[in-house]
């Protein structure tokens, strides 16, 4: 069933068409049950080699990609770059050319520099998957979010989706804005103006500087992580306490949203800052569904990029 995914790499949601995303999500549906079986493995990518090259620390994304590859029977190697050749001063170019010489089929890369996966893709012959680059994109996160929303709400079209928090530094927000607009969702942003990037309206989103009106009638509420490491010393907001009071998701602050609104978070969560524990663990929360969806979506990505034509899932 490998239908036509007309892209050699997955560098971002930008550049994908709606039908490409639909194919990814439908393929993810077909892989979803694999992870629920007693034997969680299909032979689809047997003989393929996947390198997970992570220049930033990550637990969930790396594990998710690793399991996705292994459940497709690929050989998966994880490389934690902070402890390897980078420490010796090797350039990204030399590192990726070295890895390319080992003939991988897919390189999954996470990097702190926006555009690093694009740079890699320009220089190698294998497939490149962006697992998060700087403040730019995190396409598999947006795909797993879309997958989760579609499962919970049936569709993405016409939904009101409110993304709250540090939009400026968030690759998750950028990928989600692109994907949701592709499907005709109404996207709203709620953040202190210090955390809204200039010209973000160009995505076709509505911007709010208070949480309450942004949540009015929302079907989906996405909290973003307050990235302390990026915000330190930047005078973006005065204190975590004030942030949680003005933009934190609590049972109270969520009142304007639809009663059946779902609450999402890309993780890891700062409980008590952007999200109250009662919301994170409450019945609206789909945080763990997102994590589960992540494996299926990444299986779909790896499969569509690297499987040989004849193979079926």
């Amino acid at each position: 069933m490998k239908s036509h995914f007309p892209h050699r790499h997955l560098l971002g949601i930008e550049g994908l068409r709606r039908e490409d995303v639909e194919l990814l999500l439908d393929t993810a549906e077909s892989f979803f049950d694999v992870s629920r079986r007693p034997v969680k493995k299909v032979p689809t990518l047997r003989g393929k080699t996947i390198l997970n090259v992570f220049y930033e620390n990550s637990t969930r994304t790396r594990t998710s990609f690793e399991l996705a590859g292994k459940r497709l029977s690929a050989d998966v190697v994880n490389m934690s770059m902070s402890t390897s050749s980078v420490a010796k001063g090797e350039s990204l170019y030399d590192t990726v050319k070295t890895l390319e010489a080992m003939r991988p089929d897919v390189v999954v890369i996470r990097h702190a520099s926006s555009g690093a996966p694009h740079f890699v893709a320009r220089h190698v012959s294998h497939c490149v998957v962006n697992a998060g680059d700087g403040m730019h994109e995190h396409p598999t996160q947006a795909l797993l979010d879309a997958f989760t929303i579609r499962r919970k709400k049936g569709t993405l079209e016409g939904l009101v989706v409110t993304i709250c928090g540090d939009i400026a530094h968030s690759r998750v927000a950028r990928s989600n804005m692109l994907l949701l607009k592709l499907f005709g969702a109404e996207v709203r942003l709620a953040a202190p103006p210090t955390l809204l990037p200039k010209g973000v309206e160009a995505y076709g989103v509505r911007v709010f500087d208070r949480l309450e009106p942004a949540l009015e009638g929302a079907d989906v509420v996405m909290a973003l992580r307050v990235q302390n490491e990026r915000l330190m010393g930047g005078a973006f907001f005065p204190s975590a306490k004030e942030y949680s009071k003005t933009f934190g998701l609590s049972d109270r602050s969520l009142r304007p949203a639809k009663p059946d609104a779902i609450v999402m978070h890309p993780g890891p969560m700062n409980r008590g800052i952007e999200i109250e524990p009662s919301v994170a663990d409450g019945k609206r929360s789909v945080v763990l569904d997102q994590v589960e969806a992540g494996v299926a979506v990444r299986m779909a990505v790896l499969y569509l990029l690297s499987a040989d034509e004849a193979e079926a899932p």
Partner: protein, 429 residues
């Protein structure tokens, strides 16, 4: 004696734009005019047919980085001056952000000495405003001037402390030195890699707001007025900064400005796809800024064009965008790049030539030249506005190739560059 015959001679300093001969003898302009060569034909060693070509004063670039001493892997004075000549520039002014910084007379002397050995295009060093470009202590401007520095600038860095800037203005005025500022509030641009706006947001890159430039331009105009200093805005890039300069000029202040070819031609759309060749400081901005720059150049608000020639090695450009060095290699592609503005009807050819010749000399008279006046040194360039060529690495004299025009075909070529009547560059066809 040489005769350049039958070319379209454009010499804005003398209000000349006509088909004419240029006669050169003993390194100087002997005669210019229609048929001016005829009486000398018998005696001429060389008569160059310039029909269909442009003959103009040699270009003057008051803002280049030649990287010597310290960064010779990017460029050195020899390769930089060769690139200048190949680009039609007969005089260049080198910024002091070398290693060590040109903040002492010995360094100024060494640079001048090196340029003298190399020969070719004329070389004028600009010294630092503050020691080590640190924005704290003033350099010995009198010493530097005596050694041959023709202006002061901390280019690459902005003098952030207003009190230091005031003192720099006052002291430089005492020495009669032009103060050239790289206008950037560094607090507002920390961690930035391109113009702040929708494209930066889309690429996930922190952006330089225009206001970081505008705030310094505004502050400096106020301080220039306070102190009476000659103030020059380097590589102006924002529409509001242009307005500030225009208003200062209307009030009669000695304020001038330059603009680069890349800011006149490109916008931040060129950065999409993370093209590090389009990473520069100030960054490429938006179409509204670009239009304002072109208009201001046309009406004289912006005095002149300067390339901000900033060579960087492949290692520093073929890497992650946020790690890439800032700057565009400009000397050898300036003419064909700028000719696009003429071909598109955005700028008159006469003004373009003026902005490359006499206008920069008016900003910085210490450089001299910029004219074809009889008796002036024969710094002359012959240009073919129709010739097409491809900007290949091998075709460039610069040691670096970091230009957005790399591997593209351009129209407009330098055929011959004379410095003091000597061939500094001649195209081999």
């Amino acid at each position: 004696m040489w005769i350049l015959t039958g070319g379209r001679v454009i010499d804005p300093a003398n209000g000349l734009d006509e088909v004419a001969d240029v006669v050169i003898d003993e390194g100087k302009i002997l005669a210019v005019g229609e048929g001016a060569g005829a009486p000398y034909r018998e005696r001429a060693e060389r008569v160059i047919d310039c029909a269909g070509k442009l003959v103009t004063p040699g270009f003057v670039d008051i803002h280049v980085h030649l990287r010597e001493p310290g960064h010779e892997y990017k460029e050195d004075i020899a390769s930089g001056l060769a690139a200048a000549a190949a680009g039609g520039f007969t005089a260049v002014c080198a910024m002091p952000n070398t290693k060590p910084v040109n903040d002492e007379r010995a360094i100024t002397r060494a640079m001048i000495e090196r340029a003298r050995e190399v020969g070719g295009s004329r070389f004028f060093p600009i010294a630092a405003i503050t020691k080590g470009l640190e924005g704290k202590e003033l350099t010995e401007m009198a010493e530097l001037k005596a050694a041959g520095a023709i202006a002061v600038s901390d280019d690459g860095k902005c003098v952030m402390n207003a009190q230091v800037m005031r003192r720099a203005f006052e002291y430089a005025r005492g020495q009669g030195l032009l103060v050239i500022q790289h206008c950037e509030d560094h607090h507002m641009t920390a961690g930035s890699h391109m113009h702040e706006g929708p494209n930066a947001t889309r690429l996930g890159l922190r952006g330089f707001p225009r206001e970081a430039e505008d705030i310094i331009v505004a502050r400096d105009i106020i301080l220039a007025e306070l102190t009476g200093a000659r103030y020059h805005v380097a590589h102006i890039s924002s529409a509001r900064s242009v307005r500030l300069v225009r208003e200062a000029k209307e009030r009669g202040l000695p304020v001038t400005a330059e603009v680069t070819p890349h800011h006149l031609l490109l916008t931040d759309d060129a950065v999409l796809g993370y093209d590090t060749h389009c990473k520069c400081n100030p960054p490429l901005r938006e179409e509204s800024d670009r239009r304002a720059l072109v208009e201001a150049l046309a009406d004289g608000t912006i005095d002149c064009i300067a390339t901000d020639h900033a060579p960087h090695s492949t290692l520093e450009k073929d890497c992650e965008f946020d790690r890439a060095a800032v700057g565009v290699n400009g000397l050898e592609t300036a003419f064909p790049a700028l000719l696009q503005l003429v071909d598109r009807g955005e700028l008159g050819l006469g003004r373009l030539v003026e902005a490359l010749t006499i206008s920069p000399v008016r900003v910085l008279p210490e450089v001299g030249g910029g004219t074809l006046s009889v008796g002036a040194p024969a710094d002359v360039v012959v240009l073919d506005p129709e010739r097409r060529w491809t900007v290949r690495r091998e075709a460039l004299r610069s040691r670096s190739h970091n230009t957005p025009l790399l591997d593209t075909e351009v129209k407009g070529a330098v055929e011959l560059t004379l410095v003091g009547g000597q061939v500094a560059f001649e195209r081999v066809s």
